[in-house]
Amino acid sequence: MNLGLLHRAAREALGLSLLCGLGLFLFQGLFALLTPILAEDFSAQFLKTRMSRFFLSAMLGAEIDSVGPGLFAAIAWAHPIQLTLIFTHAIASATRVPAAEVERGTIDLLLGWPVSRLQVLTAELCVFALSSAFVVLAALAGARFGLWISGASNGPPLAQSCAVALNLHALCLAIGGLAWLCSAGAERRGRAIATPVVVVLVSMLINFLAPVWEPAKALSFLSVLHYFQPFATFAGGAWPFGAIAALLGFAFTACLFAALWFRRRDLRTG
């Protein structure tokens, strides 16, 4: 491992990670803070209509028929704002090397040093794994901080929150791995970003339709969001090891192919 490359990758990742981490901390904190206020009317009003139940089910990827303390936490963890921040961090970080570096021409300076492409990618992967863990931990810290400030006693247990955070980190790595694979052969960052964004949108669509449309349900295993279901974790209390393993397996495979591709490709700038 080359410490200089790690330092450089960390320097590049710092701004985006701090921004996304702060955004997630504030979002989760505010959501946890407002939960006791919203919860009073929620069960009475919201679950009475089929439409409301449908939207909740679509968002959380599970049938919702009762309201418990885990429901609000699950909404916060699967909320579009939360996922947008997480995916933005993952896709932007993972398309930096090589696609963005090739596009802006800085790859020449980087690979003019006595380092292998594999070393560059390893440093980037390490920093990405750590920075995405930081971003997820910021979300977790925000949720616990909001819960503490609100004084609510019926929040989800820390262990369940940790399980969901771990699941989210695995999801982040999987999306990052896919973005890396697209970036490995790209010369324009926009092209590298397009594919994972489409995959995420299609996953969201499948997840949205699966509870009400049988064909979508049959395809749901292909959706990356199928492997992130915070409501089930908060409701059942079990750690989603299977989903985490599937996401990590996908991330590993994508990164492996990205490394092979990046090692063999031509690097043309300008």
């Binding site: 080359n2 410490l3 200089g4 490359l5 330092h7 450089r8 320097r11 590049e12 802006r104 021409g105 800085t106 790859i107 020449d108 300076l109 690979l111 003019g112 040093w113 006595p114 380092v115 292998s116 070393q119 063999r264 490709r265 031509d266 690097l267 043309r268 700038t269 300008g270």
Partner: protein, 297 residues
């Protein structure tokens, strides 16, 4: 030992050939000019040497290591300045040198800061606040700070003002005297004239000249004025290309060794003969123009 060796090195992009079977050797300790017009294949050659591109055929060796297969070891003793240098916006000379020190695992910050001072570069200014000339200076500092065995510079004086260009030439001469091998790419002969000992000229991906500058000078055209004592009729010799001609005055270019002209002149009744400096630029342009005339033919 040759620090740069290319053997039948070729690079093709689909049907387009960027480099066609280049054989080049740069001996250790030499100051080597690598010339060619834009699009001749200079940058492609350098990118192949640095291991950025995979050869379509042949191979490139840098400091004895295969540039593609063993690029990391090949670049260990190399300082490289890319042609169109781009730097991360946050990088200053101080932070850049600290970073390169960590990457290369070699103390170089002090030397780099001395070099920055010599080039008139503020070590604390970040790249995003620099002019293109300052960024070029920073690129040079990063390439030179570790005192490499081989320096590969792709058009290093572009964006530098004339005073800094002179300082850079002085630095390169010092480095060359200390034993550093320098491969200096440029599209202008004036840039390498007076600095390099040998040059290679590339045109449309092919090597059209690979000579010492002394040999090129001998081949370079010189402006000639011949005044005859009495009107001279008949054709001029092959090595004289006349531009204007009267019975007693010929003006033109000498396209061959001076000795040939002197031998011929000794037999003629010449009242006056003036011979200009060897015009390397003109020879260089002739190599360039060759491409266009061949294409027309």
């Amino acid at each position: 030992m040759d620090l740069v060796i290319t053997e039948q090195l070729a690079k093709r992009y689909g049907a387009r050939t960027a480099l066609a079977g280049l054989d080049l050797r740069v001996p250790e300790g030499s100051l080597f000019g690598f010339l060619g017009p834009n699009g001749a294949g200079k940058s492609t050659t350098l990118r192949l040497l640095l291991g950025f591109l995979r050869p379509s055929a042949g191979r490139a060796l840098l400091c004895g290591f295969d540039a593609w297969r063993d690029g990391k070891r090949a670049r260990a003793e190399v300082g490289y300045l890319p042609g169109e240098l781009r730097l991360p916006g946050w990088m200053s000379a101080a932070s850049g040198l600290a970073l390169v020190e960590r990457v290369r695992k070699r103390a170089l910050v002090r030397r780099g800061l001395e070099l920055a001072e010599r080039l008139g570069l503020d070590a604390q200014v970040r790249a995003r606040q620099m002019s293109s000339g300052m960024r070029q200076k920073l690129g040079l500092v990063l390439a030179l700070a570790h005192e490499p065995r081989l320096l590969v510079l792709d058009e290093p004086s572009s964006a530098l003002d004339p005073l800094v260009q002179l300082e850079l030439q002085a630095i390169l001469r010092e480095r060359s005297q200390a034993g550093t091998t320098i491969l200096f790419s440029s599209h202008s002969l004036a840039e390498v004239d007076g600095l390099c000992e040998r040059v290679a000229i590339l045109r449309e991906g092919r090597l059209v000249a690979h000579e010492s500058l002394a040999t090129l000078r001998a081949l370079a055209p010189r402006h000639v004025v011949l005044r005859f004592e009495k009107p001279r009729v008949g054709e001029p010799p092959e090595f004289l290309e006349l531009e204007t001609r009267t019975p007693t005055l010929w003006r033109g270019e000498l396209c061959g060794p001076v000795q040939e002209l002197l031998r011929w002149a000794a037999k003629e009744s010449i009242a006056d003969l003036s011979l200009g400096e060897a015009d390397l630029e003109s020879l260089f342009h002739r190599h360039y123009r060759g491409a266009a005339s061949e294409a027309r033919a």
